[in-house]
């Protein structure tokens, strides 16, 4: 018998090999260190003039650059080495001023012809590129509690308007609203009223001696919706903030039900990044309490600015809030066109505007306060039962007034706060208003900063271990299996290309564990070939003629390879599902490696062996 592949199979292997080489090639070109210039707001135009100013600043500072380009939205200047990056950034920032964001960047050097295929290099993970990783947790519970608190206020006013007398409406810590009534009749009327006004709440009537109760709880679905809204709203806010930083290729992603991952590759100034991202604040707009207001309906708050606090002392605000910070779409400081006094223009979203209008139209002349709420995490260390020190995070909530101004007319979607002392105060207030646009508080649960030199070192050791590992395996296979070993080695190299190509195409991020995965794949990818070759040897030993032995070897080993690889794939998929960041990188590499190695080890080597031995009719001996 002869071992021949139809022409299309040879072509398939050839095409796959070519694609593998093309799409893995961009990774061979080291990126240039660069500085990227973008505008502080979307309206800023980055043109030749901006570029000229930047290049002049670099010339003056004696920093060499090349390949400068601008596209109207941003500009890029490439530098000779990474050490000058920071100096270049500072020089340009000083010359352009703070209307521009200057960020460090790595510019890919993929040649034009490769880019025309859509080939891009792999993204490097933080452990390789250096940078900051934050994990923030959204306090969804407080979002739910806040919603229920405002429901309680609404219920009271609804019952009052419907002239249904209630004894009390209270919210318990486990998020149950209980309304108490004197008679069953009142209770039943209230029940009907609440049913139409709060259709999403689950109602349950209970009779107690002397009082008749309705307990209202939020359905699981409603809670999920609120939590989901809170997280996605915060995600949007975070994205905007990260864009303010001007980092190239940031990652802002939801992780699990209530966490957000922020990854900023290459950011050196971590304190700045954390300051901007970590503004885990919220806002509340409330009316100032009338002096005659009941003590239970008002609360005293200090001012945030020490000067105001000294001037006025604590101020009383109503407990009921008009809107919270998530309705603030934008806040900008500017000047009044007539009086040239500094002011802050606020834009609300439409539902926020409606609520604001309803609350202010009948209260013109009263004052409205803006509360700035900061959530801080403080770690206390305590001893647990085993006598070990454990960290217990405690959340501290600080609520301070940032503005208390008289309402001049009914407010809507857009309004402004005037009467500010100076521009600095105005821009500070605008910043705080923008920062507070969170639907629910967030706090940091994880942070990792990797220095750029450690990243470069990690790449170096990773590449070195791949080279050495690969070298050892290649030598071993060649010595042990000779011609067949050569075929396996070519397949192994091809597998490496395919693995890198697949990862580049999928936009996977390469991490240090990912490189470990590649190394492990190199070791294990030959397994399929070892299985096939030892089977061929076995069949030869059993006296089978060479051509049949080749055929039988590939045939019989196939089910084994399939079973063995499928089970490993299952484990890799589970690894991906339970792991986070670096572990997922490893799992992705391992899974892709299993799939590509099955192709190269079975189809790839078979094509080679068929080309070498397949056509010979009187084949006596195999070099195996």
């Amino acid at each position: 018998m002869l071992n021949r592949y139809p022409l299309w199979k040879y072509l398939l292997v050839l095409i796959v090999a070519a694609l593998g080489v093309i799409y893995s090639a961009p990774n061979l070109y080291a990126p240039d260190p660069a500085v990227q210039i973008s505008g502080n707001s979307g309206a800023t135009v980055i043109d030749e003039r901006t570029l000229a100013m930047a290049t002049k600043a670099l010339d003056d500072a004696g920093i060499q650059y090349f390949g400068e380009e601008s596209n109207g939205k941003s500009a890029l200047l490439r530098l000779k080495d990474t050490e000058q990056q920071l100096a270049a950034k500072e020089a340009i920032q000083r010359s352009l001023g703070y209307n521009y964001v200057v960020a460090l960047n790595l510019a890919p050097t993929t040649p034009e012809w490769l880019r025309s295929f859509g080939a891009e290099p792999m993204k490097l993970g933080l452990d390789l590129a250096g940078g900051v990783h934050f994990l923030l947790e959204v306090d969804t519970k407080s979002a739910v509690a806040k919603r229920l608190e405002s429901s309680v206020d609404e219920m009271k006013s609804k019952l009052r308007t419907a002239k249904i007398r209630y004894q009390s409406v209270t919210l318990s810590d486990d998020n149950v609203v209980t309304a108490a009534f004197k008679t069953a009749e009142l209770r039943d009327n209230a029940d009907a009223e609440l049913r139409s006004e709060f259709p999403t709440l689950l109602r349950e009537s209970k009779d107690e001696p002397g009082r008749f109760l309705i307990s209202l709880t939020m359905s699981e679905q409603a809670i999920n919706e609120i939590e989901d809204y809170a997280v996605s709203q915060n995600l949007t806010t975070l994205r905007n903030r990260v864009n303010e930083l001007g980092v190239s290729e940031p990652i802002v992603q939801r992780q699990g039900s209530n966490r957000v991952v922020v990854e900023l590759p290459g950011v050196q100034d971590t304190a700045e990044a954390k300051r901007i991202i970590g503004k885990t604040a919220n806002l509340e707009f409330r009316l100032e309490a009338k002096p005659s207001e009941l003590v239970t309906r008002k609360e005293a708050f200090p001012f945030r600015s020490e000067m105001d606090q000294r001037r006025w002392g604590d101020a009383f605000l109503e407990k009921k809030l008009i809107i919270s910070g998530d309705h603030v779409a934008n806040a900008q400081s500017s000047f009044d066109s007539q009086t040239s006094q500094p002011q802050v223009n606020i834009t609300l979203d439409s539902s926020g505007g409606t609520k604001m209008h309803r609350a202010t139209r009948s209260n013109v002349g009263r004052r409205m306060g803006v509360l700035f709420i900061e959530y801080k995490t403080q770690m206390d260390y305590k001893l647990n039962e085993a006598g070990e020190q454990v960290a217990v995070p405690t959340q501290i909530i600080e609520k301070k007034i940032i503005s208390l101004a008289t309402i001049q007319s009914a407010l809507g979607v857009q309004f402004r706060i005037t009467g500010l002392d100076n521009t600095a105060e105005a821009s500070e207030l605008a910043l705080l208003l923008r920062a507070g646009a969170l639907a629910a508080p967030m706090y940091f649960v994880e942070e990792r900063t990797i220095g750029p030199s450690l990243g470069a070192e990690n790449i170096a050791v990773g590449v070195k271990s791949v080279q050495i590992g690969l070298g050892l395996v290649l030598i071993f296979m060649l010595v042990y299996y000779r011609v067949f070993g050569l075929a396996a080695n070519i397949a192994l190299a091809l597998n490496l290309f395919l693995l890198v190509a697949c990862m580049s195409l999928l936009g996977a991020t390469l991490t240090l564990p990912g490189i470990a995965g590649i190394v492990l794949t190199v070791g294990m990818a030959v397994d399929a070939n070892v299985l096939i070759f030892s089977r061929i040897r076995e069949e030869l030993a059993n006296g089978m003629p060479p051509q049949s032995a080749i055929n039988a070897g590939y045939d019989r080993a196939f089910t084994t390879i399939l079973d063995a690889n499928l089970t490993t794939l299952i484990v890799a998929v589970i690894l991906y599902a339970i792991g986070s960041g670096p572990v997922q990188g490893f799992a992705v590499t391992l899974s892709i490696g299993i799939l590509t190695s099955m192709f190269t080890a079975i189809v790839g080597t078979r094509a080679l062996i068929n080309l070498i031995y397949g056509g010979r009719k009187n084949l006596e001996k195999l070099w195996i």
Binding site: A271, L454, S465
Partner: protein, 307 residues
């Protein structure tokens, strides 16, 4: 090359092997019970900072500098090289912490110190990861058991999962005994060991299944011995090539994946041993026989090419 491969009587020493495994398992479990696992930052939560010195650092000096600056109870160790120092703090995280430490260390030191990395993990995250890691491992074992039961037979899946549990416990025991940090990458390595050891076991099982159907008039013990001998070549070579790359990773991969490489190296040795002596041993002790594999689903095809 020999015409007929010699059959090695692996299972002749199965009682000895079983005793050896039991001793290893008891030692591992005992160490885990007494020492526990030395969980790394990923699982315990806390703050750790890596700094790089130009010259070899003096750890005592670093400790003194830190406690003088008010960082009490800091753990200070070398990380891979004498110029790299890892500092673990028993306190929460503040944004400027990395720089504070640097200033504290720079006092009195001539060489400028580089901040290589700062990591903070909230305690609740660590706890969740531990739970998820454990659950993930159990889930992986369950899925594997199901798959093997489907593709092979129930007794095989007990054998395979038994071998996997054996491997995982021994690798964990090794880490516990030598007090090596158990972090997220090590967890990944342990899961990879499950994958690898399973791969090995499946290859052996595949041959056992094939031989049960092919060989006539032989005992189960002989079938297992023949299968193990036939696959020995492959078992050793694949383990060998994998060990080669892992050694490269161990020696050249840097400190950050040292634990990972260690776990895999141990895992591969144990996994190779277990696919020969544990998985098959369990099969035999459950009286595996031809009948267990009899309902063949169009397996007649397999015999077609046999001359």
């Amino acid at each position: 090359m020999a015409k007929e491969k010699k059959v090695i009587n692996f299972m002749g020493r199965r009682k000895l092997a079983a005793a050896f495994s039991v001793i290893l398992l008891i030692a591992s479990v005992a160490s885990l019970a007494i020492n526990g696992l030395q969980f790394g930052l990923d699982f315990t939560g806390g703050t750790q900072i890596e700094v790089g010195y130009k010259q070899p650092a003096n750890l005592n000096e670093v400790r003194e500098q830190l406690s003088a600056a008010g960082f009490e109870g800091a753990t200070v160790v070398f990380f891979g090289a004498e110029t790299d120092v890892l500092i673990r703090l028993q306190r929460g995280f503040e944004p400027g912490l990395g720089d504070e430490i640097l200033t504290a260390l720079n006092r009195g030191a001539e060489s400028d110190i580089e901040l290589r990395r700062v990591e903070f993990v909230g305690p609740q995250v660590g706890e969740e990861l531990r739970d998820e890691g454990g659950l993930g491992m159990l889930f992986a074992l369950a899925v594997v058991m199901l798959y093997v039961a489907m593709r092979f037979q129930f007794k095989f899946s007990i054998g395979a999962v038994g071998a996997l549990i054996h491997d995982v416990i021994i690798v964990l025991g090794f880490f516990s005994l030598l007090h090596i940090d158990f972090d997220l990458t090590v967890l990944a390595a342990v899961l990879a060991v499950i994958g690898y050891s399973l791969n090995d076991t499946i290859v052996v099982f595949d041959r056992i299944r094939e031989n049960f159907r092919k060989l006539r008039g032989v005992t189960s013990l002989e079938v297992v011995n023949t299968s193990l001998s036939q696959t020995l070549d492959r078992t050793l070579i694949t383990s060998g090539t994998t060990m080669l790359v892992l050694l490269a990773l161990f020696y050249y991969g840097g400190e950050m994946i040292h634990g990972f490489a260690t776990a895999l190296l141990v895992g591969i040795v144990v996994g190779t041993y277990s696919s020969i002596y544990v998985a098959s041993n369990i099969l035999l002790s459950m009286d595996i026989s031809k009948e267990d594999l009899m309902p063949p689903v169009k397996e007649g095809e397999e015999f077609e090419d046999v001359p």
